[in-house]
Symmetry: C2
Subunit: 590 residues, 2 copies
């Protein structure tokens, strides 16, 4: 990490020979190194802390002095596992969470890499260094769902170049952990490369049993945030993984996992917490990392441990504890003034030495980013008219059993074989059977994968969405004409989510950035979109609470059971493609 | 760190598809990650652990199975701050401490660099990779005592090359911490270079006050092992330094410092322990890192915390916790079988997957090292006859007060002005005043620094020693003829310690390796030398307990108060050379 302040100047400020820019006096420092609460002053020079202690000799004529009497001073919170693309974008997310005290995020680069390539992403990384606070990255080694051409996009040399960047602290979660379990040579080789760089290898071992986890840990993965049972949390911690307890909109697991600490009495120094990409409304309601601390403390974790988990523990995991995670000289001046140890809502947030928020409101301007400049892909490789053909959405069928995707929960599905009759060569879905047609289109027009959904949103006429883990075009509905209209409209928008009732467009969410994110710099726009979307699908029968994750993971290949993936209709547990995708030549139609 | 085992093979062993080389069953694993004691099996393949858990499917036909029923399995102990040159050498030290359970040492390179140059040292590093266990290094950025030509030997480029070596985990203690306090540009620049490499910057801030420590911490130093009071330990921990509690032969400080944990109730994850280069007899009697654990537990530290301090905490500080410090898949198989949690003396030691000791005895052969091949300096740059002139050792004096070096303790001195008369242009030391003459000679024959010692060993006729922090020739005594004889004999030996009574040589310790170490591969030789030396100087009035450290630090420039350093007679606190060294041209005499 680069410091703006020269160390020689920090030394002079510490000695009292050079005035501090900012001086916070009489606060109670939450010392995450020693685990103590200490009445101390903190002197800040440029972006760094220069002094912590009893002296006030660093106060000069032009020093801004902040009286923190009665307040607690916490290191800025760290989100070590962030997905900055849940409709919101990196800028709007950061603008929301900085006032909540999260001054460092470590961000998954998945969709940026997919839509910008390594080169475009590199330019983005550089430009986002303007963001206040610390905006770091973890780089994907493979995509979320296997597809043709993957090796080209995630090629060894380019990925290694990304991993070597200062702002990239390591590799992002490998959701397809069976690759590791099966000893994928590319991954094993690059993991050793990452470790040699002194960087981290983030993991994702959802549902992995203790014995299997041994094999995955042997591969070199060093963290996991996917424990959803207490036993899984114990398993991960015991096998030497940095164990990240999650509380996201998708999975608010903290209540289940916190007994690891409160009853298991384990050592907590290798435990971290994450929000793991919550939907916009969740952040609006529950906060971000501040919410994790709040809930952990409510569940009985001592305040000090709860704060350590999201400061020094995370920093140590990231091998950045020389720079962030605690209040000490030479560290980035990321400091929260907390009025109490209950709400954990900062009255003032200082990031890199600058006061950037007060009373929950940002007090600075965020940089303006022209996202288009990085993207190296056309939104669609074929013309809109292609999508207007309703027959494209009908499920070809000659009568007989069909393996349907049945939603057991928000994101977990299972195969359910259903007998369907045929009309004109297509499945007859006209009855009131709660079934929907679904299709995943390659946005380059080379393939289409089809399926039948049960227990999604029985009254949904037509919905099209590039918001899914492939960021290809997913179209769902019971009415092929409405599906066609929604799909065509998403084409117009250059990515996004559209819902059509009969022939009426009732929702439009433009997601021009990678098909996943609004380019709107305001976080509230993302919240509004999310609220509209959820309420519309729920009115149409969607029985779950987080539609974004349902869309996201319908197209992944790492969660049970039946999925629409680029290769075809896929049974994850059996590791079997039931129906291979159909080839298209839509790009020639353009 | 490089693993010999392929990760793909470890994965197969974890799965039970490939047999383990070694399988330890039914032991109680000391899980330093979770802080639990767990009944588990451990499978080892080549140099690594492949599996930890309840299964025994990795046992194959040719697997060596060890029944650890009733035993505890601990990760091998780590000495993160080792000086492998206290008469013993890296090989003899390692042969002694491996059976005691210290499987990793991180070693100061000072005298190796001084006598081998960067290139010779690099070859040594490579050859010592043969040592069983993990033999790492920290590289010095500057010498221990300032001298002319220092910048040439410790030049930026060569030091950076050393720092980049895999076996070098960072930079060694900067004993001259006022350089940091004063913002030395070379050091500040290289510290950022080290951090960018993802390596550590070890510190040494003896006697540094809390406020001054702020400035030193701002320089980027990240650890200190020099706290000798409870307050100093708190200071270091609170300011974000990895706080290393020392118990060495020089300073058995643990009793003073342990209340940090037992009464201060601080978080212990950033606390480490070190033996800090104990003398050979101390290791023989008290053990090595095992002794630290033993004593910490006796002083009330919970067993788990005590073991964490010398395993996972040290590994995390060193940024090597992916490889060492705990029992988990993919880690080096450094495993101790402990019969109890009181003695901490392992019944069996496994290092890098190999059983290397049982019941305190090494069961393997150590590599034979020809030390001469690395050294790039002649022991002396002038002929022995030069040293035979007794007048060289007399203290030139015209009558009046002389600032004498008075030993307050083993290593702490102070200035004491003493009136001395003159005889033939030399100080008259013939009376029974307890004063000795001392001289530090440049072994290249360019300078000599002289002083008067009080309370050293009143009846010492002549002693010569290259064992001191400059590794130049230090000669001490009341009888110039005996001093000359001792010095000439050290010249014969090519380095070492010699004591002369009247005209009789009564002790010879050849230290041909850098003037500091015996080349003898047997640790007991070092113990014998040490015992002889101490008993001889104590018989002659030496009132302290660790003569080696007295010799070592008499010539340093970082401990109070008056010192014989290359530049001259030096008052450390005043930062003033009282008498500059005298120039010699001995090399022309050769």
């Amino acid at each position: 990490m680069k410091l703006k302040a020269k160390r020689s100047d920090l030394i002079e400020v510490a000695k009292g020979n050079r005035p501090a820019d900012l001086f916070i006096k009489n606060g109670t420092v939450i010392n995450v190194y020693s685990g103590e609460f200490l009445k101390q002053n903190v002197a800040v020079y440029k972006d760094c802390i220069a002094y912590v202690g009893g002296s006030d000799r660093a106060i000069g004529e032009h020093t801004t002095v902040i009286d923190a009497t009665g307040k607690y001073l916490s290191p800025g919170f760290i989100e070590a596992h962030s997905h900055p693309w849940i409709v919101y974008n990196p800028v709007s997310m950061t603008s929301k969470i900085l006032p909540l005290g999260t001054t460092t995020t470590v961000n998954d680069n998945l969709f940026f890499h997919l839509h910008m390539g390594a080169n475009g992403f590199k330019r983005l990384v550089k430009d986002l260094e303007q963001l206040p606070g610390n905006f770091f990255w973890l780089a994907r080694l493979v995509s979320q769902a296997e597809y043709q051409g993957e090796n080209e996009l995630f090629n060894d040399n380019e990925v290694k170049e990304l991993l070597a960047l200062d702002a990239v602290l390591g590799s992002a979660e490998i959701t397809r952990w069976p690759l590791l379990y099966n000893g994928d040579p590319y991954l094993l080789e690059i993991i050793d490369y990452i470790k040699k760089l002194g960087k981290v290898v983030d993991g994702h071992t959802a549902g992995c049993s203790y014995d299997k986890l041994n094999a995955v840990v042997a591969s070199g993965v060093s963290a996991c945030h996917e424990a959803i049972t207490l036993k899984e949390a114990f398993d991960r911690l015991r096998l030497g993984m940095w164990t990240t307890l999650r509380n996201s909109s998708l999975r608010p697991d903290l209540q289940e996992l916190i007994p690891l600490i409160t009853e298991g009495n384990v050592s907590t120094s290798r435990i971290i917490m994450t929000t793991d990409g919550p939907n916009p409304a969740f952040i609006e309601k529950e906060g971000f990392v501040d919410g994790l601390v709040r809930q952990a403390v409510e569940l009985g974790v001592p305040v000090m441990n709860a704060i350590q988990m999201v400061t020094i523990n995370a920093a140590t995991y990231l091998k950045q504890d020389d720079y962030i995670g605690g209040l000490a000289p030479g560290r980035k001046a990321d400091i929260l003034l907390l009025p109490d140890l209950v709400s954990f809502r900062p009255e003032m947030v200082i990031a890199n030495g600058e006061i950037i928020a007060e009373d929950g409101k940002l007090t600075i301007n965020m940089p303006e980013i022209d996202w288009n400049q990085y993207v190296n892909r056309e939104p669609f490789g074929f013309s809109k008219s292609v999508l207007e053909n309703a027959d494209l959405y009908r499920y070809p069928h000659q009568g007989g059993n069909v393996p349907a995707i049945y939603f057991k929960s928000n994101v977990i599905t299972e195969r359910k074989d259903i007998f369907l009759t045929s009309v004109n060569g297509y499945a007859d879905l006209s009855g009131d059977n709660g079934l929907l047609q679904a299709a995943l289109f390659d946005r380059n027009g080379k393939w289409i994968t089809r399926g039948i959904l049960e227990r999604f949103a029985v009254n949904l006429d037509g919905m099209a969405s590039t918001y899914n883990t492939t960021s290809e075009l997913l179209v769902i509905g019971k009415n092929p004409e409405a599906m066609a209209k929604a799909a065509a409209r998403v084409h117009d928008l250059g990515g996004g989510i559209v819902i059509v009732d009969g022939s009426e467009i009732i929702l439009e969410i433009p997601l021009q950035l990678a098909g996943m994110m609004t380019t709107d710099p305001s976080f509230s726009t993302a919240v509004m979109y999310y609220d509209q979307l959820l309420s519309i699908v729920q009115e149409r029968g969607f029985p779950f609470h987080d539609i974004l994750y349902t869309l996201l993971f319908l197209t992944c290949d790492f969660l049970p059971g039946l999925r629409l993936v680029p290769k075809g209709l896929y049974d994850v547990k059996q590791n079997e493609i039931l129906y291979r995708n159909e080839s298209l030549t839509l790009n020639s139609v353009k």
